[in-house]
């Protein structure tokens, strides 16, 4: 810092130079298209599919080595049962029963979450109410409320809907509130600057600005709801006529039909995969990724 000019190190003189360019033809074209194999290797879908295939191969090999269909049926056995139950409509029927209940519960949960967050953004008291309720109920497993739901609503869809609402509501409300709170002040002001107020302000500024958080809440809510539903159906599969996919698994277990249990689990997994990587992925690609709000 205190170096005086006289104390500067003396520079060794370095010669300037010019050379002929070296021949670069050996490397090929400067910009060359990737080969099909290279492009396939970079594709996310291909990568995911490869992982699946590897898992299936491990499963098949292990099951054959174990050779005990009662404990651990092989992939081919599971697929056989799966396609049989798809073909005779049992599995499709059960899945639809589950999905219908899920849709009702999810929709009601979202509606309630909207009401709660509206109160929460409208006033500080509302924020306190929602954050306290969320802190209380979010860690409470929905399935723990099932006995209570059975007392209140009896066996059947209303009880299931109740526990699904519980599992969706808090996750979505919490994420939406966090999203609303993190909307930059400048963006809020530029919304109010053009005279936006009330519902239009929330709809045109806050919701799109908080969309990454809201979407995360929707995803978590979906996963919670789906899990809760299957588990709840396992607990009371008594009303057999309206049984869902959990009941399908439960029934098969009672018959010691492990391949069918596996095919039920496979259906649960497949639906999870489709919702996550088709529905939510598409929404993401068309919104938050396009807008540069999320990578």
């Amino acid at each position: 810092m205190n170096a005086q000019p006289s104390q500067k190190p003396t520079q060794v003189p370095r010669p300037e130079f010019e050379v002929e360019l070296i021949d670069a033809t050996a490397i090929g074209d400067v910009e060359r298209p990737l080969t099909i194999t290279e492009r396939l290797m970079n594709n996310e879908a291909v990568q995911r599919l490869t992982i699946l295939v590897v898992l299936i191969v491990i499963w098949e090999l292990y099951a054959r080595w174990l050779n005990n269909g009662l404990l651990f049926p092989s992939f081919s056995e599971t697929i056989k049962t799966f396609s049989k139950d798809i073909a005779n409509g049992v599995l499709i029927d059960r899945t639809f029963t589950s999905l219908r209940t899920l849709a009702i519960g999810y929709a009601l949960g979202l509606a309630l979450a909207a009401v709660f967050t509206t109160f929460a953004v409208a006033s500080t008291a509302g924020t306190r109410v929602l954050s306290t309720l969320t802190a209380m109920f979010n860690p409470l497993p929905a399935i723990a409320l099932l006995p209570l739901a059975l007392i209140w609503f009896g066996l059947g869809t209303p009880s299931l809907v109740f526990v699904i609402i519980h599992s969706v509501l808090w996750a979505v409300a919490l994420n939406t509130l966090i999203g609303f709170r993190s909307v930059p002040e400048t963006l809020r002001m530029s919304g109010r600057n053009v005279g936006l107020k009330g519902a239009r302000y929330v709809g045109l500024i806050l919701i799109p600005a908080a969309f990454p958080s809201i979407l995360a809440g929707l995803k978590i809510g979906w996963a919670f709801a789906w899990r809760t539903l299957v588990a709840a159906e396992l607990v009371f599969g008594v009303s057999a006529r309206s049984g869902g996919i959990g009941w399908y698994i439960f029934e098969a277990r009672n018959d010691l039909d492990t391949a069918t249990v596996f095919s039920g689990l496979l259906a649960v997994i497949l639906i999870g995969l489709v919702v996550e990587s088709v529905i939510f992925r598409t929404i993401e690609a068309r919104t938050v990724n396009l807008w540069g709000m999320q990578r």
């Binding site: 930059p184 002001m189 530029s190 600057n193 936006l196 500024i205 540069g292 709000m293």
Partner: protein, 264 residues
Amino acid sequence: MTSALLEVNGVTLQYKTPRHLVTATYRVDFSVHQGDRYVILGPSGCGKTTVLKAVGGFMPPVEGSIRINGRGIESPGPDRMMVFQEFEQLMPWKTVYQNVLFPMKVTKRFVATEAAARANAMIEKVGLTKFRDIYPHMLSGGMKMRVAIARAMAMEPDILLMDEPFAALDALTRRTMQQELLALWDQLRFTVLFVTHSIEEAIIIGSRILVLSPHPGRVRAELSADGLDHNSVGRPEFGILTDRIHTLLFGQTHHLHAQQDIRA
């Protein structure tokens, strides 16, 4: 006598932080006339941004009055379009075109076809026609600022409020943007209230300069800076005005200040 477009009379502004009640400005008076490039200049803590927010309608004065075209200001409104310093004032979920169109659409001030034509014309004026359908996250800082200016100008506000709009830009882009703003003013002759902490920017942009002193913000002077722009930066009158403002703000001349810096 022409009556003023914006009249600020004895305005005291206060805001609360979690621990303090801060007085940002104390009994500030000024008036802005039609076609003015009115600059509020002052160091940080002089409440210049707070004044702009009050004119924008985001903050009611504790005492005094703010009137635009004779009406009192009660809430934010599109007759006073604001351009902020931060780039996040644009809506990331809308393209350049949709962003410029947005205020016209929500206020229904123009019919749809006219709004579309105005948006396109304004985008062309700020030179972003090629980027019309691009989302803001793909634009540079200067381009985002151009979109914000186009969005505000397309509304034809009574007065354009600009809060240190170029402060977050690099020096070269800032200079370009200042020139573009002046060129735009030459064409459209709008009224602008511009806040800055840079003496040089104030002289280049402004036709009138209001100098505020800090803690709390009070009026120190109102000066004319007509006819001074980038081309006059080296001229003596530019230097004289700079020194004069410097003296007003810091109570000593530029040279003395510089000498002190060296001694320190």
